[in-house]
């Protein structure tokens, strides 16, 4: 019953998305505003219908309706209710419906918020988004339907893949999709601006919050994925340059480039074509991310499907989108002439340009490493893989270069600067960075990247703090305020700048985490019997017991370790779980997380009676990666809170 309601409302939404695609265009060409309004209403109704469709699917899960094929494949009677409700996006059919629902929600919000302020571009925005939505709904209804019924419903379902029964994996896809889908809105505004020949700054100003929001969601989604890999996969790391991770990393990189380079267009009227290129690329890479993961072309834990029809459809969809977008960009290139030019390499715009080069090079690196194996496989019989060393070799220098720019970019003024001013701004940070490098060397850090990152982190932190202190002082002197009030006023009046700086500080925290966990991880593989003790770092671990334990849909062998460190005692309980519906055992690592290091214990098989194998990691600074992400997100939201600025006087 519920599934029919869901199916039927998706069908109506499909028909209405054709209306959303065409009606606004009729309104524009025959100058009948009422048709544009019809399109707007259609967007609201589509959103309501798809909400109903998602609800219908979730209710089918909650009711254990195994006559629905999708439910039977992704749930079971014993699945806990939390995973039951969220199993809706446990497979690709449901995820695509979720994608479409989010898009419809964003379209409705855009149609509501920007209706009166952007009346010229609105018909085009609606129509473009209608086209994207139509593309996705066709996929959901005809090629990847979550609404199919089974003729002989099983008594119980197959259960959700045990690896996906984890909070990290529950929240990973929705956030990722919020990011992917969010980029559709700036993309549509950019295209509309091109079509209506208003490719000045308006589309950038209008979509600033959308872009920031999407990028923040993408960040959260990616980090949830990493967090899941760390907690669930039991190999002690969080990022493996798996194609699925790469797929979400590419739009993140180009989106980040876009966030920076639009500032140049806003202030200096430059990089117009480049910004359009970046937003088209970012949205296209978002689609590619969905395609790569959901078509099954990659074989990894995420990609459960093998269905060429779906893959070909998404490829054609992307090809059409890219051809139309870049075709339009070429056709309209004459209106994108730029009058101001770069004046000096010692300017903010130049540092942003280099920043963009780095980020785009990063995206190309990932694209090459991800698609090359697919190309080889398609064009010949050989199969090839590109390992983590390739990415690390490229990304570590890029990251260090980005850090250097991050220290300089916010401080260097627009247009040009003088050497005297540079000396004033950078003398102290460079000195501090140098001290950092020397200290690291004295402390016995020998890895060149470790040493360089310590120096750079100190350099960037001090440029940012110096800027903060100087500007607070200036405000205190000007309005004779106390330091705290001055500081609060400063960061409140310029939320965008200081939100951005907070994002930078969050990034530094993350980088410290990357360096600590990447270069200084300690790993032990060993056999233990009851009562055995081992030392790792300043910890001493004793295996106390190994027992059997069980929950609703799994049973497990559970080891109990007593871990002691300077008088502090904790218990660690790693498990080897077997889910009742599956023959694959899964590892549940026991993790003790502290501010400075994580202790991570993985249980292996019993080697013989009373002896088990264990793998134990001591990883410094992992929690800094998660904390840094939190700081970044706060920074992004702080920057988002700034409303539109009054027209600045042109610089």
């Amino acid at each position: 019953m519920w599934i029919e309601i869901a199916h039927f409302s998706t069908l109506i939404a499909l028909v209405l998305s054709i209306v959303l695609l065409t009606a606004p265009l009729i309104g524009v060409f025959w100058q009948r505003p009422v048709w544009v309004r019809i399109g707007r209403q259609a967007s609201f109704i589509i959103c309501a219908l798809l909400t109903l469709a998602c609800a219908g699917l979730i209710i089918s899960f909650l009711k254990h309706d195994f006559s629905v094929k999708y439910v039977a494949e992704h749930a079971s009677l014993k699945l806990p209710i939390f995973y039951l409700a969220t199993a809706m996006w446990g497979g690709h059919e449901g995820s695509l419906l979720l994608w479409a629902w989010m898009l419809s929600l964003f379209v409705a919000i855009a149609a509501w918020k920007h209706w009166s302020t952007h009346s010229v571009s609105m018909p085009w925005v609606l129509s473009i988004l209608g086209g994207v939505l139509l593309g996705f709904l066709l996929l959901v209804v005809f090629l990847s339907s979550p609404f199919d019924r089974l003729i002989n419903p099983p008594f119980d379902g197959r259960d959700l893949n045990p690896l996906l029964q984890d909070p990290g994996m529950v929240f990973h896809p929705p956030f990722l999709y919020l990011g992917y889908v969010g980029f559709a809105i700036p993309y549509a505004f950019a295209m509309a601006a091109l079509i209506t020949s208003q490719s000045d700054n308006e589309w950038i100003l209008a979509t600033r919050r959308w872009t920031l929001f999407s990028w923040a969601m993408l960040t959260i989604g990616i980090v949830f994925g990493a967090y899941w890999a760390y907690y669930e996969l039991g190999w002690g790391g969080y990022w493996a340059w798996d194609p699925v991770e790469n797929a979400s990393f590419m739009p993140w990189l180009t989106g980040l480039a876009f966030l920076h380079s639009v500032m140049v267009q806003e202030r200096r009227r430059m990089f117009k074509t480049w910004n359009l290129f970046l937003i088209i690329t970012t949205f296209a890479l978002s689609l590619l991310g969905t395609f790569l993961v959901r078509s099954g072309v990659l074989s990894s834990v995420h990609a459960f499907a093998t269905d060429p029809g779906r893959g070909v459809y998404i490829l054609v969809f992307m090809a059409v989108l890219l051809l139309l977008s870049f075709g339009l960009l070429t056709m309209k290139s004459d209106q994108l002439k730029e009058t101001p030019q770069l004046e000096s390499p010692l300017s903010k715009e130049f540092s942003f340009l280099i920043n963009n080069l780095f980020l785009v090079a990063g995206a190309c690196t990932v694209l090459l490493g991800t698609l090359y194996p697919l190309a080889v496989e398609t064009l010949s019989t050989a199969k090839v893989s590109v390992g983590a060393p390739y990415y690390n070799k490229v990304f570590i220098p890029i990251m260090l270069g980005m850090l250097l720019l991050m220290g300089a970019g916010p401080i260097i003024p627009w247009q040009r600067t003088t050497l005297a001013r540079l000396r004033r701004e950078f003398l102290l940070p460079i000195a501090l960075g140098a001290i950092g490098i020397i200290t690291a060397l004295l402390l016995g850090v020998t890895h060149p990247f470790g040493v360089a990152s310590v120096g750079l982190i100190l350099f960037v932190t001090s440029t940012h703090l110096q800027d903060l202190i100087r500007n607070t002082k200036a405000r205190m002197d000007k309005e004779s305020l106390g330091p705290l009030v001055g500081f609060i006023q400063l960061i409140q009046r310029n939320k965008r700048r200081y939100g951005g700086m907070l994002v930078h500080l969050g990034t530094l925290t993350m980088v410290a985490g990357f360096v600590g966990s990447g270069l200084f991880q300690e790993e032990r593989n060993l056999f233990l019997s009851l009562g055995d003790t081992l030392r790792i770092g300043s910890w001493s671990l004793t295996l106390q017991s190994v027992d059997k334990t069980a929950r609703r849909n799994w049973k497990a062998d559970e080891a109990v370790f007593k871990a002691e460190n300077n008088g502090k005692t904790i218990l660690l309980k790693p498990q080897k779980r077997t889910y009742s519906k599956s023959d694959q055992p899964t590892t549940e690592a026991a993790i003790h997380s502290a501010w400075n290091e994580d202790l991570y214990v993985v249980m292996g098989d019993a080697v013989k009676e009373g002896v088990w194998s264990f793998r134990i990691y001591r990883t410094p600074l992992v929690s800094w990666v998660w904390t840094g992400t939190g700081i970044m997100i706060v920074g992004v939201f702080w920057a988002m809170m700034q409303g539109r600025r009054l027209q600045r006087k042109p610089v």
């Binding site: 490493g369 590109v386 056999f527």
Partner: protein, 151 residues
């Protein structure tokens, strides 16, 4: 102050230099990072050609071939695709999905005439997630799809 064209030249030069360095970094890292994948049959066919190269071999862990050396984590097994098989040695904890009769991908350096010393083992689960009580037919089918996905 310098003249304008001179300055532009300097700017463009800097840009080209940075972009060139980045491109060089990417491509120099890319060559040499590629690891080719082979089935056991291919390895038998190209055994001398592959000598000394880092490769991946994908197949099934032959049933009954897994030997564990007691007191250590060392294991030895045969990787097979039904036609051809090769002995593999590995020292370390194996992934959850590793077991006899399941798909496996081993990575290491091929030395003709010696056992394949794997640096890492990637267990491959079939693309279709198969629960325990599935029919024999279903398991066969998923095995087929596994072999196909390994190719």
């Amino acid at each position: 102050m310098k003249t304008r064209p001179n300055k532009r030249l300097f700017l463009i030069g800097t840009l080209i230099l940075v972009a060139g360095a980045l491109a060089a970094l990417v491509f120099s890292s890319f060559t040499g990072a590629l690891v080719y994948f082979h089935t056991p049959t291919e390895v038998t066919a190209k055994t001398t050609e592959l000598n000394g190269k880092k490769i991946r071999i994908g197949g099934m862990v032959q049933a009954g071939s897994l030997v564990k050396e007691s007191g250590t984590q060392k294991i030895r097994f045969l990787v097979t695709d039904g036609t051809s098989q090769h002995p593999v040695r590995y020292d370390g904890m194996v992934p959850d999905l590793f077991r006899e009769g399941q798909g496996v991908v081993v990575e290491g350096t091929w030395r003709t005439g010696q056992d394949f010393m794997a640096d890492s083992i990637l267990a491959k689960h079939s693309e279709d997630y198969v629960p325990v009580e599935m029919s024999k037919e279903g398991i066969e089918k998923s095995k087929d799809s596994l072999m196909k996905s390994l190719k």
